[in-house]
């Protein structure tokens, strides 16, 4: 069913401490879970929920994004009407880069005006989750909210950077603070905001006219008393992936089959760019347990508690433990990895031993030979 809801995946003002993982790519295209990019989760959620039109506000380092998304066919978003739109900042004006996201909404007001869809959901790319936007929109309409914020109970100390939220007894948001704030709350915002399109455009124009340029900080938070901002509680899995420890942690959590099932299949499947890789081959002598392994790998050694992306080769005698090895990585004979994150196309020489900790994994840069 087609929802009267358009999606915006906003890549402006990404809060992230991802080190070398975002040296040459934006947060949205950080590889995750063996064969995905972070943006796949929110994008697939939108598609599965029936959101017919999705804009991606690209900001910097978006070549990998363009390459990944293409014309949206892999998400069934190559459509005659609606579909996928990647909207980069306008290059003629360099100062655009320094400006807030409200400017980008303003610049694209034609894009919003052209669509007949009544509601907008503004989301981000770094939430590893599988969300049903239809249910959120239902609650939004039933409650008569002005804005609905998707929230998640988050009782433990966490590794990702999140905005904290405080509700009143009726589920209305009464306070919201950035991750460095001191608000004591076990509730975090999943940075998904649903509202009517005309309210959004109204907030954009009013705030810009007041010299403000940041949607959440300047247009929503100061209006918590004036607008009905309600929380929608997300039940399913959530990974907030914007620091290296959270990246490591949320990858590793997928080794729990319940999490694997929840994130990848419920309520809908997660789509990504397809690649023509053969199945993974385990040779005699291989020992692979408690791991997530993508296609096209060749395993001759030992793999434990690890995530292997597509086309990884683990040679004879090599041991990969508690590690994440991205696409086309090669672990040479008798090499040894423990608590490592190898970016794409890293080659580990035979006999080499590398070791980090789960708090601070050893990070290997793209295409390095170590």
């Amino acid at each position: 069913m087609k929802l009267p809801l358009m999606g915006v995946i906003n890549l402006i003002h990404e809060t992230e401490e991802m080190g070398s993982l975002t040296a040459s790519r934006c947060l949205a295209t950080v590889p995750f879970a063996g064969r995905y990019r972070l943006i796949d989760f929110v994008l697939s959620s939108m598609v599965n929920s029936g959101v017919p039109r999705v804009a991606v506000f690209a900001h910097t380092k978006f070549r990998s994004l363009m390459d990944h998304l293409g014309s949206g066919g892999n998400w069934d978003l190559h459509r005659k009407q609606n579909g996928l739109f990647v909207l980069p900042p306008s290059m003629e004006d360099m100062t655009d880069f320094g400006k807030g996201d409200l400017y980008q909404f303003y610049r694209n007001r034609d894009y919003f005006a052209r669509s007949g869809l009544e509601y907008v959901v503004v989301a981000r790319s770094h939430m590893a989750c599988n969300v049903d936007f239809a249910a959120i929109l239902d609650q939004h309409r039933e409650k008569g909210s002005d804005i609905t914020v998707v929230c998640k109970k988050w009782p433990h100390a966490q590794t990702g950077l999140t905005r904290k939220v405080k509700l009143d007894a009726g589920g209305r948001v009464v306070e919201m603070q950035d991750h460095f704030g001191r608000l004591a709350s076990d509730l975090v915002s999943m940075e998904m905001y649903i509202m009517r399109k005309d309210l959004l455009m109204d907030l954009v124009e009013t705030s810009l006219a007041q010299g403000k340029d940041h949607l959440v900080r300047h247009a929503i938070v100061p209006r918590l008393s004036e607008l009905n901002v309600d929380a929608y509680m997300h039940d399913g899995y959530l990974g907030v992936v914007n620091t290296i420890p959270s990246y490591y942690r949320h990858n590793m959590e997928l080794l729990n089959p319940d999490v694997w099932n929840e994130l990848f299949f419920r309520p809908g499947p997660i789509f990504t760019k397809v690649k023509d890789e053969p199945p993974t081959r385990y040779r005699s002598g291989s020992q692979a347990i408690h791991s997530l392994v993508a296609n096209g790998c060749e395993i001759e050694g030992t793999v434990e508690n690890s995530i292997l992306f597509r086309g990884v080769k683990v040679r004879k005698g090599a041991v990969v433990r508690n590690s994440i090895v991205m696409q086309n990585g090669i672990i040479g004979e008798n090499g040894r990895l423990e608590n490592c994150i190898l970016d794409k196309e890293v080659e580990i020489r035979p006999q080499q031993q590398l070791r980090g900790t789960s708090e601070m994994p050893f990070m290997a840069l793209k295409r390095n030979v170590i």
Partner: protein
């Protein structure tokens, strides 16, 4: 329409009777193979990798799954503005409808399609075989020989020769004799069912054959013998790679097992000759802490909590705790229950082997088969049978 030097006609109407329950609702070229592929992926990928981008696919038997799988050829890069892949089912003309009566008749009925591209050469292949072959090299040889037809041949063991179309050739590779399934084979050079014809010659031969009665309208039985009798320039093209007709349960199982050899003669990992396929959209495969996997191939979206040895698992297969899979092929979405044992077997798409059940055995000569969607279960559930 643009001019194409060589176009391919791919015969994909085969019913594959000897594959039994695996082809009940499925044409043989759509049968799963190699953990990810369907048989037809190999010939389609061969075409693309050989630079042949116009392919007519002739369908007839149970084409629903096959049609949907083929689409307009995008997975193989064959969704081209000109040429590309076209599915050619039999159809009704002004004079009424005619099913394809034989391989040659199927091509005869599509002369109109072929002529749109004005090809000089036509490659005739079948969607039933597993092999990687560069047809452009064969075409080069065909041109060098100024041949009317070139037949790809492979050396088979003398013992098997009587199951094939057997060619005798002179020292230049010219065909001097051809015998379809001869009782006393004079050679062990078998036809692979891969032909390149100069279109002018083939068209004439097809028209002549159509007018001949009786004729089985078959390439091996009618067209080739007739051309040979007419002293046409027939040449052989030797192929020495892996080639397998997976026409029986036995051979389908074998071909899958061949992939698990230490150095398989059919290399699926060659980036320069990729086998394209429709990619299922599934997460990375999950191996539980108790899983063991040895000498096997496993595809995306599978969950392995048991023991897998010398086996091929397609996408979305679930292997329950404590179960054992050995020397077997488990097709997409099949579920192997806890404690089950599958040995020397093929488990069809979406089939279920219930908890504690056993399918196949190491001692058996025959390969056990569980049909697509079939459910194998114990009379009594495992809990009752073996109370803990």
């Amino acid at each position: 329409m643009s001019r194409n030097e060589c176009i391919a006609m791919l015969l994909a109407g085969g019913e594959g009777r000897r594959l039994g329950v695996l082809t009940k609702d499925l044409a043989k070229p759509a049968v799963h193979f190699g953990g990810k592929y369907r048989i037809i992926d190999f010939t389609l990928s061969n075409c693309v990798n050989s630079g042949i981008e116009t392919v007519g696919v002739l369908t007839q038997y149970q084409p629903l799954v096959l049609n949907q799988y083929l689409g307009i050829g995008s997975p193989w890069g064959l969704d081209r503005r000109e040429g590309g892949m076209h599915v050619l089912p039999p159809y009704v003309r002004q004079k009424g409808g005619v099913w394809y009566k034989g391989t040659a008749n199927a091509i005869y009925q599509n002369i109109g399609f072929i002529e749109r591209y004005e090809p000089e050469y036509v490659l005739i292949i079948s969607g039933d075989h597993i092999y990687k072959m560069d047809y452009s090299l064969m075409l080069e040889q065909h041109k060098r020989n100024h041949a009317d037809a070139t037949i790809a041949v492979i050396t088979v063991p003398w013992a098997d020769a009587s199951r094939f179309g057997i060619l005798s050739v002179d020292e230049e590779g010219r065909v001097v004799e051809f015998a379809e399934k001869p009782k006393q084979p004079k050679s062990n050079l078998a036809s692979m069912g891969v032909y390149i014809f100069s279109w002018r010659v083939l068209k004439e031969a097809l028209i002549a054959d159509e007018a001949t009665s009786p004729s089985s309208h078959d390439f091996g039985k009618d067209i080739i013998p007739k051309l040979l009798a007419d002293q046409s320039r027939l040449y052989s093209y030797r192929f020495d790679g892996y080639w397998k007709d997976v026409g029986t349960i036995e051979s389908l199982w074998e071909a899958n097992m061949d992939l698990l050899e230490e150095e398989p003669s059919l290399d699926l990992y060659d980036r320069d000759w990729r086998i394209y396929s429709v990619n299922p959209n599934r997460p990375a495969q999950y191996l539980s802490p108790e899983a063991t996997v040895l000498s096997s191939m496993i595809n995306e979206g599978s969950v392995v909590e048991g023991h897998v040895n010398r086996s091929v698992l397609f996408h979305g297969v679930k292997v329950g705790e404590g179960s054992v899979i050995e020397d077997s092929v488990i097709m997409p979405g099949a579920i192997i229950g806890r404690g089950a044992k599958v040995v020397r077997a093929i488990v069809g798409e979406g089939a279920v082997v219930g908890e504690g059940c056993q399918v196949g055995s190491a001692a058996s000569e025959e390969i056990a088969v569980v049909g697509s969607g079939d459910v194998v279960k114990l009379e009594k559930p495992l809990e009752e049978a073996n109370p803990i």
